[in-house]
Amino acid sequence: MTHLTQDLKAEAVAGAASDVSARDEFRRRSPREQKARTLNVIAYAVLVVLVAALMVPFIWMVSSSLKENNQVFTVPIQWIPEEFVWSNYSDIWTRIPMMGYLQNSLYLSVIITILQVLTGSLAAYGFSKVRFPGRDVLFLGYIGTIAVPWQAYMVPQYIMMQQLGLTNSFNALILLQAFGAFGVFLMRQYYMTIPDELCEAARIDGLSEYGIWARVILPLSKPALASLALLTFVNTWNDYMGPFIYLTSNRLWTVQLGLRSFVGQFDAEFAMIMTGSVISVVPILIIFLVGQRYFIQGIATSGMKG
């Protein structure tokens, strides 16, 4: 799988180069340019319709979140609420402990992201820039576990946490999710593209290996660090099964658990449910819009999700 992903990345780079030459060629042939232009207009129209259709769930979510409960399901569908019920957005904080849920989600996401990025980039340096016997076998062990579905070992993990007395605590989730093999894999893929000569030069200048990691490799790997941080953060924020298995008391619940339980308890409060959904998605939307370049790069590099 490593080869494949490396290929993909190389291809993406090659692709960018060939795009440039393609553009130059278009400029020379004007009849073709015209044909391309009409094609583009058609493509544009198709895209607008298509994307609008694909966005219907989001549109419906936002529009319903601004309605009264009894106006959510109407025949015909009202895409724009007759009157905007903004009070949903102020009432939800008292209906369910939404603020607490958001804080819990934020806490878990931040801690796990920091640990994953830190330990992942350290380990990746060891796996890519320091040569020692047994290194590659060990790395193979890491890769091997990525191939095992986590559902296959969630029961032993659960038994372990139970025995450590860590169920119903954030620590269980932090321990289980902060040391994933995925982060090591993603960072190593990137470090392999940094020439060894750079490290060598730094060594000759008298930097220790730790110094090289901190002063040479880390600054160079900002895009990869950003990708890993964003992917980890979003995965943790969105994670449902982990909190579902480990967090039983309401005060520890994350946004996902809180929202799910709200739906279970008050399944007729359609508008309020949609309001909660919007609130749970907004932080992800903001993070995504700010860092979307890194998301895409992270996926092209690793071809994998967390």
């Binding site: 493509a43 989001f58 025949v75 060990l138 576990t145 060594r203 000759i204």
Partner: protein, 322 residues
């Protein structure tokens, strides 16, 4: 870095020019053993913080899962070696077969639909247009939207009475639209539609990378030869995308067999057992009822399926390349 001064790096670290192994072996023998030991120590200090967590919370549980499958162990009894008993029990239980069948049905629906739509979208989006980035982002966004929100919204969209989807179906002339998540025949299609909508943006990104790597000369040559757009698609695009498609198929199949949270949130396996999948069975038996041994046997089956699918696809790919 406080450790910086304490642990000085060796003057000759990892070999920059990657000399062959023979040479390196000689170097070691010549008295660079100390150096090698030092490198080992340094290497391990880098790896250790992650490795400790990885060892304790991933590697050991993975190995334990294999062993547990051959043991009888519940939350009320001590572990006992029972050989293949768990597997015998599993093969004789309908909940296992139902879960397996549902998982396969899900995969059979999810894999081809996602693949075709992801490729179609990638072809459509692989052009230089103003604002194309916006369309790509919009199509990708469902993939990173929280699953609970996705499941909740789609559940409402699928609402059998007055839900927007059934209203639309009635509008286009379907007299008796399906009951979706409330019907045991239509719950699985509803889950598949939701998951396809959620995942296709992700695979579209992979296909876009693949499409951008195809040299434009190939298309130009095909055009000069008088190939129609359809012929160009089948004879240039499809073969050039083969490595990407292979990767996408492996990833899609593996992720289909692992399907879990979407089903838990959307239908919780119901109605009845119409959408219960393998992962859920593992959860119910293992964590829900504390049958650690039995659930690990189911886990092992899930792992073997995923492994077989991956190996099989690698084999097929190799044969094609030859």
């Amino acid at each position: 870095m406080t450790t910086e001064t304490r642990l000085r790096a060796p003057a000759v670290g990892p070999d920059p020019k990657r000399r062959n192994n023979l040479n390196r072996g000689k170097n070691l023998n010549r008295g660079n053993r100390k150096q090698a030991r030092r490198n080992t120590l340094i290497g391990w200090t880098f790896i250790l913080p992650n490795f400790l967590g990885f060892l304790a919370f991933t590697l050991i549980p993975v190995l334990a899962a294999f062993a547990l499958a051959f043991m009888e162990w519940t939350s009320f009894s001590a572990p006992k070696w029972v050989g293949l008993e768990n597997f015998e029990r599993m093969l004789g239980s309908d909940s296992f077969w139902i879960a397996l069948r549902n998982t396969v049905i899900y995969a059979v629906g999810h894999v081809p639909l996602t693949l075709v739509l992801a490729l179609g979208l990638a072809m459509l989006l692989n052009r230089k247009l103003k604002g194309i980035g916006f369309f790509r982002i919009a199509i990708f966004f469902p993939y990173i939207t929280s699953l609970v929100a996705v499941a909740v919204v789609w559940n409402m969209l699928f609402s059998p009475t007055d839900g927007p989807i059934n209203q639309f179906l009635q509008f286009v002339g379907v007299a008796n639209p399906p009951g979706w998540t409330s019907s045991s025949d239509w719950a699985m299609p509803a889950v598949i539609i939701t998951s396809v909508w959620r995942d296709m943006g992700y695979y579209m990104i992979l296909y876009l990378a693949g499409l951008q790597a195809i040299p434009t000369e190939l298309y130009e040559a095909a055009e000069v030869d008088g190939a129609s757009p359809w012929q160009r698609f089948w004879n240039v695009t499809v073969p050039s995308l083969r490595p990407t498609t292979f990767f996408v198929v492996v990833m899609l199949t593996v992720s289909s067999f692992k399907v879990f949270d979407l089903i838990v949130v959307m239908t919780n396996g119901g109605p009845g057992r119409a959408t219960t999948v393998l992962s859920q069975l593992i959860y119910q038996e293992g964590i829900g009822e504390g049958k650690f041994g039995y659930s690990s046997a189911v886990s092992l089956v899930l792992f073997l399926i995923v492994l077989t699918v991956t190996v099989l696809q690698f084999k097929i790919q190799q044969r094609r390349e030859r």
